[in-house]
């Protein structure tokens, strides 16, 4: 009876740990991935970050660069995974934050030695948004002042010539 109880306890704990690791898989930072690249080579990892630049689609899939602010890492999304980000990070927008589950390659055989992640799953965590840059009125005032001074200097130079 005691032995059965021990087995039930152990199984319950294992199931909890398994479910936790699947549902709440800890994402690895880009710094960790790059610094310990050889340790993670060929392993399944979870990586989270903002999509930067633009999605570059080729014959068999698309490249996206995902940055967690330390470094950007190239993620290869095969054609079978349907993914279309609404916003990508640039001057005018904050890109979608996504979580990628996939295989990390230190020196990818398919992509001629690139350090990359081959996505198996990609999940939107937080949608990006447009960034509105308001015109700085102090700079505008300063501009008017300086360009007026340029115009006056030109006038004075012409007068001096005459």
């Amino acid at each position: 009876m005691l032995r059965y109880k021990k087995v039930i306890y152990a199984t319950t704990i294992w199931v909890f740990v398994f479910i936790y690791s699947v549902v709440y898989a800890q994402s690895i930072s880009s710094k960790e991935l790059i610094n310990q690249a050889q340790c993670y080579d060929g392993k399944e990892i979870v990586y989270k970050g903002e999509i930067i630049g633009e999605m570059m689609c080729r014959k068999k899939g698309c490249w996206v660069n995902i940055s967690d602010r330390d470094f950007g890492i190239g993620v290869w999304i095969p054609s079978k995974i349907r993914f279309n980000p609404k916003y990508t990070g640039s001057y005018k927008s904050k890109g979608d934050v996504v979580e990628v589950k996939g295989i990390f390659n230190y020196s990818c055989k398919e992509h001629f030695g690139e350090l990359d992640i081959h996505a198996q799953q990609i999940k939107l965590i937080k949608e990006g948004y447009p960034i509105i840059h308001r015109l700085n009125t102090h700079k505008v005032t300063l501009n008017i002042f300086i360009w007026s001074a340029v115009w006056m200097t030109l006038k004075l130079m012409r007068l001096k010539k005459r």
Binding site: N35, F71, L115, L135, V150
Partner: protein, 500 residues
């Protein structure tokens, strides 16, 4: 006896400085056009402000110090030396206003890195930088690569005698055409033709690799300017790795090699003298040193056993070797990876490649292939002198666009400049080691800054000490101008204090 500078000297210096500053203002207006194209109004504001400041300064300087006096060697050297510092301070204004730099010192670092075609960067969050500011970073490389004075000579002069003195001050001694103004025009013409062709090819690759057309053209333009001018800035933080394209890398290698060729050789190629490529001492030296150092880098990489295929060793090793040897600084791996994964031998190979550099009268920095060739010719001459009978006369010849005889004066100048470079490399490394950085990384970064390369092991970052930032700025400036004009400035400053 030192002579204290007179009012006349000051007039001449400020008059020509005013003209160059006015020219910088015109370039800021180019960035304004990019701002209008991409509808980036706030960055446009920054560049209007910068252009306004440049025009105001330029006009006041030109009208107050107007002179018809001829420029002497002293004036030429001083104008060049000071104008590079002034360009740095002015070029840093829009960068600082962008809000992507922690301090004005950081934006000055970036501006000098751009102008000196180095490529080390202190920007924060490059991936959210505006197109307009990013264009300015790359344009600074183009202006600096051609030579600020060359650009000024092309636009503002009709052939005054002092032009040559400023041209030499900017570390260029060779006249491609009889007149220095036509030489400056030729250099600009070559650069603009290559700019159009290179941008078209790179943009086409970007489109084929999945980028949108406007973005492809922008990236093609920026990468060409940084590659041909052996600069090394890129529009994204991942450098060339961002594009995930082998063809793009291949074309960038060709652009880097074109950028490292002597403009005189470009002229020969344009004139149909293709055999020059096989005879010129610079090309031969560059080829031999490239192959020897590539062997060193390869052995160093094989020692680590980090890559899973021999082709990858060649791809990563060769790309970084060319990037280092041409003084560009493009990279397809992260700076941390060089430090953590590459063996000491591979890193030493890169340091050696960076310290040698490309051709004279090109956009590269460092000791340069011609000087390395002359050093080897001198050694060969000395060995022949020992081996041959005492009374025999040994004449060493070499080909550099024409047949030349090795002369003592040239040997002295080559050894002096080489010694100055070695001193500059060691100086930066000493400061970094003093601040607590490991020796190998310190010497790598110091050579990268002095030789205007831009590869990094990770020392160059926002958090590095301000003293080191200043030292690297000075190294980039001195390394780009090749010492003589800097020595002249030092002499000038001493003459202000001690002169009579």
């Amino acid at each position: 006896m030192l002579l204290r500078p007179t009012i006349k000297d000051i007039r001449i210096i400020f008059y020509y400085l005013g003209k160059i500053v006015f020219g910088i203002g015109l370039f800021a207006l180019l960035a304004v056009i990019i701002g209008i194209i991409f509808k980036e109004w706030e960055p446009l504001n920054d560049f209007l402000l910068t252009a306004g400041i440049c025009f105001l300064w330029g006009l006041i300087s030109i009208s107050l110090f107007k002179t018809e006096e001829e420029i002497s060697w002293l004036h030429g050297m001083l104008i060049v030396c000071i104008c590079w510092l002034v360009a740095m301070f002015l070029g840093a204004i829009p960068l600082y206003l962008s809000g992507h730099y922690v301090s004005y010192l950081d934006s000055c670092f970036e501006a000098m890195s751009g102008l000196a075609t180095t490529g080390l960067t202190l920007i924060v969050d490059l991936d959210h930088f505006s197109f307009t500011h990013n264009f300015w970073r790359h344009l600074m490389m183009f202006i600096g690569g051609q030579g600020i004075v060359i650009v000024a000579i092309s636009f503002f002069t009709r052939g005054y005698g002092g032009a040559f003195k400023m041209y030499v001050g900017e570390a260029r001694e060779e006249r491609i055409l009889p007149s220095i103004v036509s030489t400056a025009h030729f250099i600009l013409l070559v650069s603009v033709v290559y700019l159009i062709l290179g941008t078209a090819v790179l943009s086409a690759i970007c489109v084929a690799e999945g980028m949108r057309l406007p973005s492809a053209i922008f990236n093609g333009l920026c990468i060409f300017m940084a590659g041909f001018d052996t600069g090394g800035f890129t529009p994204y933080s991942q450098n060339i790795y961002y594009y995930h394209s082998f063809i793009f890398e291949l074309v960038s290698v060709i652009i880097m090699i074109l950028g490292t060729l002597n403009f005189k050789l470009h002229y020969c190629l344009w004139a149909g003298k293709h055999k020059e490529l096989l005879k010129d001492i610079e090309i031969i030296t560059f080829f031999i040193t490239s192959m020897l150092i590539f062997l060193i880098v390869l052995i160093g990489l094989f020692q680590t056993g980090i890559y899973n295929h021999i082709v990858i060793y060649f791809r990563k090793g060769f790309y970084h070797l060319i990037s280092a040897h041409t003084g560009t600084g493009f990279s397809i791996i992260y700076p941390n990876q060089i430090r953590r994964e590459w063996s000491a031998l591979a890193i030493l190979g890169l340091i050696l490649a960076m310290s040698l550099g490309g051709s004279t009268c090109s956009t590269t920095g460092a000791i340069k292939a011609l000087r390395i060739g002359v050093i080897f010719k001198t050694i060969s001459q000395e060995i022949k002198k020992i081996l041959l009978p005492e009374l025999s006369v040994v004449v060493e010849k070499f080909h550099h666009t024409k047949d030349l005889v090795l002369e003592d004066k040239q040997i002295r100048s080559v050894f002096l400049i080489t010694l100055c470079y070695i001193f500059l490399y060691v100086l930066g490394a000493l400061v970094a080691v003093g601040l607590g950085y490991p020796f190998l990384e310190a010497i790598f970064e110091s050579v990268s800054a002095s030789a205007n390369v831009g590869l990094s092991t990770g020392i160059t970052q926002v958090s590095m000490p301000a003293l080191l930032k200043i030292i690297y700025i000075l190294q980039m400036w001195i390394g780009r101008l090749e010492f003589m004009s800097i020595f002249t400035l030092l002499g000038f400053l001493i003459s202000i204090i001690k002169g009579r």
